[in-house]
Subunit: 236 residues, 2 copies
């Protein structure tokens, strides 16, 4: 937790308040906050501030804003990813948010186990988004969309996300073209499930505007390949 | 598991044998192997082969090698990382191995909890190396070294790893120079603990040949920043 994310309602009086149990516990046990300490705070969907701690009690911490601080820029990326196992989903959401992805789309695919769509984690995505934002020092949650049918998404929804100014790269181990690097334009990234997209799916993605690109001969897990790709694409 | 890693002793007769419980279970439950199927196999510290399954029993699977396949190249990187929490350590080792890091050094640092050096995971590193190799389709384990004292390592051991042809980059959020991208030479990467290196440590690293470089204003967790850095550095 590198900033404390507050709801705008907690910042409407002169003194701001932290009252969420998770945040209070973290600040007490890991940071050992004291009156007079400074604390970095972000207002959900708003600005970031350096604040000073004015009071610490069992149920709340009160803060006084000192000065505004910059919110880190987002990466101009839409990440389309085949719905992963629940444990991987958590990490993936946190990491994609930490790294600044603007929009995350979870998509069904032939090799996605249907049970993954029933995980209770899907009801808690907002919590993992918060953890990712607090890690990165960001305040703006990415949009997250779910599509439980592959073909209608790829044929009817995805094409509007792709243009010459915003290409879509589908990571595919057998592609002949390499994933680009050091780009300075927006893009869409498409990541398959464990075991990969089936040939029909790759063909449909390509037919609807994606470029199949390779990352070399090593096979990398979904949750690891996303930071690799983002580090590679936005290295400028 | 994208290849099955075998000990050279399991490949000395005409038919090779898989007898490790973990591998047998994976092949039976996740792959549902049958006689006549092909299977990718790597010989520890050796070559990779496409094989054909000749027999499947409760206690072993027998294979016939069909042809040699290429082992993916390693990244010319030494990764020096402050000893992380045990859970992070596991992921970090698996990911660094999957991504092809040649050498991993676990180092003490002021903000590393001393208890981390007592974790039983340190006795099981070889297991996580195997998982990383089997994920990547690699056969060559990286060297792993442990240094429980920061200063003697940085002053006496590290300088021999650094040269004009092989620079060392210490990731540091407050550095003014950006981490390079798309390099084609070997290098050493230095990653601090949660909370970062203390100023004394960063100074000592710089004094002994490291360049402090920044990855931007987002604060990224150790296990996530390693794939970001590797994706960025080796994007050529």
């Amino acid at each position: 937790m590198n900033i404390v994310l507050l709801d705008p309602r907690q910042t409407q009086s002169e003194l701001w308040t932290i009252s969420a149990k998770r945040q209070l516990e973290h600040l007490r046990t890991h940071v050992d906050v004291q009156v007079g300490d400074t604390l970095k705070v972000g207002i959900r969907e708003g600005k970031r501030y350096l604040t000073e701690i004015v009071s610490v009690s069992e149920l709340q911490i009160q803060l006084k804003p000192l000065r505004e601080e910059p919110v880190p820029a987002k990466l101009p990326v839409t990440l389309i990813v085949a719905m992963p196992r629940p444990k991987v989903l958590r990490r993936l959401i946190m990491d994609a948010v930490t790294l600044g992805v603007e929009k995350i789309i979870l998509l069904h695919s032939y090799r996605v186990d249907k049970s993954y769509w029933q995980t209770p984690f899907l009801q808690q995505l907002e919590h993992y988004v918060d953890l990712g934002l607090e890690q990165a020092g960001d305040t703006i949650a990415p949009a997250i969309e779910l599509y439980k049918r592959f073909k209608p998404f790829v044929e009817d929804v995805m094409p509007a996300m792709i243009s010459a100014a915003c290409p879509a790269y589908a990571a595919h181990p057998y592609a002949e073209i390499k994933m680009p690097a050091g780009i300075s334009h927006p893009c869409t990234i498409v990541i398959g499930p464990e075991g990969g997209f089936i040939p029909y799916e790759i063909d449909l993605l390509i037919k609807n505007g994606c470029q199949a690109v390779s990352l070399g001969s090593r096979i990398i897990r979904t949750e690891t390949v996303i930071p690799v790709i983002l580090g590679r694409l936005f290295s400028g």
